[in-house]
Each structure stands twice: as C-alpha cells, then as structure tokens.
Amino acid sequence: MDTVAFLATGIATAFSGWNFVYVLIGAFVGTWIGMLPGLGPSTGIALLLPLTYGLDPTGGMIMLCGIYFGSMYGGSISSILLNTPGDVSSVITMLDGNPMARRGRGGAALFCAAVASFIGGSVGLVGLTFLAEPIARFALRFGPAEYFALMTFALIATATLMQGAAVKGLMAIVIGLMIATVGIDLQSGAARFTMNSPNLFDGISLIAVIIGLFGISEVFTNIQEIMARRWGKVETVGRLWMEPSEWKRCRFSFLRGSVIGFMVGVVPGAGGAVATLLSYAAERRSSRHPEEFGKGAIEGVAGPEAANNASVGGALIPLFTLGLPGSSATAILLGALMIFGIQPGPHLFTENPDLVWGIIGSLYVANVVLVILNIPFIGIFVRMLMMPGAPLNAIILLLAVTGAYSLNNNVFDIQVALVFGVIGFLLRSAQVPLAPLVLAVALGGGLEQSLRQALSLSDGDPAGLVPSGIAAVFLGLSALLVLLAAILPATRLMSPRNRALRRAAKKEKRPQTQ
C-alpha cells in the first residue's frame, strides 16, 4: 500500500465505531483545557491520560492526540483575551494577540489564531504523512553541539521580544537564565540553589513560573486598575471577522510559520517554545511594520500560532518512526503507547500501521473539527473581555492556583506561582518585559546542559562545539545577528525604533505587560 492508501484507511479508522466520538471529545476537551490559564498541552495530556486507560489503544491514542491539538489552539484563547498563557508556546501569541484584543480586535485575533492553527496543523500533518520516512533520521543529527547551536540562535532571537529599554530586556533574559540554574545539575548531580528542599531538586517549574508571572500578576494589575477606577480596558468587542487588509498582511505569515514550526518540531527537544519564538522573529524581520509588533500586529499572532500547531506534526515524526519523543507532550504520548501495550520503536510504523495511520487520520479529522467547533464560539469567548473585574479576577486566580497544583499534585507549585505573581507584578511596574524572561527560563536548562555535554565530549576543546554543518550554520547566524546589532544601530534589532517605542510606552498609562 502506498502512503495515500494508508492515509485513506487512517481517515476511515477515525470515522469507524466510537473513534469519531473520541476525536470530538479530545478536540473539545483539549480546547477547554488549553484555555484555562496554567494548563497547556503537556499538562493537559498528562492530566487526562488516566481517563483513556480503559479504551482500546487506537481509541485512547486518538483521544489523546485530539487533546494535544485542541489544547494547542485553546492556549491562544486565554493568551489573547486574558493575557494569561497556559504554556510557553502561547506566551508569544499573547504579545500581539492581547494588544489586539484591547484595541477591540479580539475576535479577529481569535479568528486568525484558529485559521493559523488549522493551516499550521495541516502543513504539519502533510509533512508527517509524506516526509516522515525520508526525514526521520535527520533528527538524529542533532547531538549536544547542534542542540546548543540551535538554542543559542533561539536565545538571540528572544531579543526580538524586547520592548522598550534594551537593558531591561537583557535583565529579563539574565533573570530567566538564573532561574533555569536552580535544581540538581544534570552533569554533576550537585544541588544548586535548592536550599535543601526536595521540591526544588527538579528546578523551578516553568509552567508555575508562567502561571505566576502572567496569570497571577495579571490579577494584581487588574486590581490596581479597578482601584484606580480605570477598569474596563475594552470598550467594544469589535467586529469578529478579519478585515481584508488583515488577511493580506498575514497570508504569508501562515505559511512561514507553518514551515518553521514543522522543521523545528522535528528536532528533538526544541518543541513549541523555539518554534513560536523563531516564527515571531521571522515575522518581525520580514514585516513592513516592525514597529507595530508588540502593539497588536496580526502577523505576530498568525505566524507563531501556525508554527505552534505545525510543530505537532513535526514532533510526531521521531516518535512514530524511531520511538523517540522530542517534547514533553510527545514523551507522555510515548508512555501512553507503552501503557496500551504497544512497544514504540523503529518498528511502530511497520508493525502497527493500523494504529499509527489511525492516529494520523484522526489528527486530520481533529484539525477540521477544531475549526468548525471553535469559530462559532469566538463570539462567546470574546465576551469574556466584557466581564466585570471582580469575578474575572476570582476566576483567573482560582484557575491559576488549580492549574499550578495539577502540575505535580504538589502545593509547592502553588507557592512558586504566587511568588512569581508578586515578582511579575513588580517587574511589570518597572517595565521589565516578561516574555524574554520566560523564554530564557524555557531555553536556559537545555542551553547550559548541551554546552557542557558538547564540551565533555570534546574534552573541553571549543572546536567540539562545531562538529557539523548544522551547528556551524546556527552559530554563524547567531554571530551575524549579534554583529548586525552591534555594528548597525539602525538595524531592526536595536535602537531608533525602540526609542520610539519607549516614548510611546511612556505615554501609555498602563505598564507594558510584555
């Protein structure tokens, strides 16, 4: 059978028996889970995994993959409307999605995110269907040195997230990298900054940091506004659909984001954070309105949302072809396969074609279901913006605390979230951008460990950091970006526009939240 025939049977599987119901449940529940502040794809899948144990392997995996896809989309809703992302990959969507919502373009932002998710999801799935075999082994070329080069490139790209004073942006990145050093060091086994608390041995949970910095500090900011009688940030929910000019601006963003997301998704360990970050940087670099980024540029929603969902198809390639999970979400899917009694590995495609193609087929179906399911809801979701302050704050706080607890069933994570809520509020007041901080926390651990792994393998010889073309390309690009920023102050990374942005930011009464 060729690929198309396999895919056809896969889609048939998605519609047979109860499977279609599982697709629907997965997509629907996933969207709602993803929408809750603090619950992203990996937490969502982990949380709902036990519910699928009673199902047959195909049905169970179909439901989990539906949840995976659904929560990817759902994450954009709370980021855009409430400024409270549930996962690091939707932090980027928030940067421009939330300003759009404040301008009365929340409906358009949600619509754009839905379309972008659909296009990205489709590109990722087509890539998974037709390119899985040829590029499966590409992922293996990423060793510690290549991974370090990619992470360096991504860290440099966080510069594009900076708003206002460059020094505050750099401060945010340094704080983020410092947070990432907490915990038992992988290479030496030594405990660093753990204050002898076993709860800190695995480091400070990234998701708890996100819940605190965005969700809980958003509540503080809201309270401040209510007390200053400035509540009611959005006068109107605006028109729900995208304007023709908006379509025109982001048609290529959808495609660029999809391709970037898919390629990054294939690389083990990179995941949604790097995919959305690189897509955002690419959009800002190629846009004719780079000064609008961070203030509600629709491309900033379109590209990263497409990248986010396209990375799912990419991330499933090493999982299905080699049994190697490249992200925390796929790691849980791998565990689920084993619990269902299926041994993932290089034989998965050949020995369980019905299962694998059934999952792929149902992902295609879930992708369509999500669009159909969610576009009619946009009008309802947008009304969240009109909610009075007090109940909204109570709901965000409740969900943030529940979300933090559900990470590890541990009260400690709630404490972390609360502490970072206060830190987030203070940093916002000082106009330190939070997005680069969170991205630095997300990238810091991998960056440090891959550097040390690569140097261990080369006996400390720095040449060991460039063992291959891949590493050379990413390190070269990183160096180029830094040089450009240093030599040409007129380049988009740096000053004049930022100075303009700073002036504009000072005029605004509300502190910048990014």
Partner: protein, 323 residues
Amino acid sequence: MAAFSRIVAMALAVAAGAAAAQAAEPTRVIEIIVGASPGGGFDRTARAIERVLEDGIVGQPINVINQPGAGGAVGLASMNRHPGDMHYISITSPNILTDELRGTSPMTFEALTPIATLVSEYLCFAVHADSDLETAADLVAALKEKPEAIRFGFATTPGNHNHVAFAQLAGAVGFDVMKPKTVIFKGASEAVTALLGRHIDFSIAPAASFAEYVRSGDVKCLAVSAPERLGGALSDVPTWTELGYDVVYGPFRGVIGPQGMEPEQIAFWEDALQKMAATDAWKKEVAENYWTENVKGHDETMTFLATERDRLRASLTDLGLLQ
C-alpha cells in the same frame, strides 16, 4: 464479680482483635503514590500493579496518584505523611538508597516500610550497529587500552544504576572509570537518540530501552549485566558472567509503605503482591519490560536493602561521588 470482669476482659479482647483484623485489610480506596510523571517507567510499573491487583486480588478500588519530583523523593515524603496507613503504597527503586548515600534525601528506607521486592531490571551495554566495537571483548579492550577515547553517555543522573554498572565493569576489567568522556542525558530516550546519531560511542540502560533498537538492527547490545541471559530480542546477548567478568547489577523495583505499618498490614500486602506476581497478567508485564522476577517479602527485602546500600556505597566511592 470476678466472672463478670473476666467476661468484660474477654469481650474487650475480642473487640480489640476484631479491630486489629480490620486494620489489616484495606477498607477504602487505595492510593499508589508514584514519584514520577504519567507515562514514565515508575508510572508504568504502578499502573501494571494497579491493573493486576484490582482484578480480584484486593477488594478495594485503587488510584494511582503522580507526585513527581526529586527522583521520587517528593512522592515518598508525601506517602510518609500517612504513618501506619496501609491505604498508601508507593514504588521503590535503588534511588532511595543512592539519595540517602549522597545526602540528597534525609529519608532512609528504615524510616519507611519496605513491603516487597518484585523485579530486577538488568542493563544493556550498547553501541551503535556500525560501531567498530563488535563484541564485548572489543569494548573491554578499548576501555583498557584507551579509555579516554570512549564517549560514554547515559541517563538520568550521576551515580544511578547505569553509572554503578559502569563502575562495576571498571572494577572487573581493571580500567579507570573516571577516564572515559562521560555525559549525562535527561532521559533514556535522549541517550538513545545520541547513540543512534553516533554522538556517543557507548551507553548503558535498562534492557527495555534498547531492545526495540536491537531488533531493528540499529543498536548492538554487547552484553547484559544479568545473572542469566534475557529473553526476546536480547536472547543472543551474552551476560558479563559468561564472558568471565563479575558484573551482575540491575536496579530493583518493589513496593514500599509509609512508616509504622503493623505486621498484619505488611502481611496483607505481602500476600496480595505474591498473588499478583503469580498471575499470567503480571508475568506478561515482566516479559514485555525485560524485567527479571525477583520476589522477596518484607524481611528479605530489609536485609537485601541493607546489603545493597553497602554495595552502592562502594560503587559511588569508586565513581568519586562519595568521599
């Protein structure tokens, strides 16, 4: 009067006996607290135990609760907040010994109630299929002649079972365990990725991590650290003992309860777990995971843990991880 008081005393004794008997049997939902995330190795062990036990061995429903953190220490601490309560059990591994030895956890196994040992998970010593190291003898020769040229990688933490097995090989063969370039990966699949991509030359991991790649011809398993050959895809792989090196090591998995459990409660769980180990469903789990059955009751497990701790202390000292 004397007769009356005797009757009262007897009634009290009967009541006390009934209470004791009642305490030795679970009366409500049982929680298996897993110190790792859903889908991981510990979680799979717990789910396997849950499935088999619920199937007619224990008369109460069982929930698996995941409380990951600190290599399982967070989950164990949380279980230990229910002293003497047999409704809480957890899965244990050599981590409890190494954490104590390395001072990363204040909890000793004596502070909890080890109930039983179930299986041992023996380890594969693996290289890439295209590696120049064709046999275990080649590996031994390479490690003896030029250990610093070997790139050795494993998951998940220094001084764990994979690392200890390497130290034991070093002791048996006679090379300096500190010489090979050593990198640690976050999870077994990262180590497998690095081996498949030839970023490292050699790795050690539980047999199940490599079995599928041996079957597909991507990885060569040169030897296993088991007392006898393993089954499935690894049935052709020699043991180190066969090759003349005394390397027999595999992390155990067992069941542990909170502090202060009564002998009757321990006996209930020993009995239930023994029944579980005899079922076909459990034997199938054992085979699928390339485990080796190693069933021990409470007393035997206590002795075993004490000797194991001494053995690990020696290995960790060899690895320079303990003074």
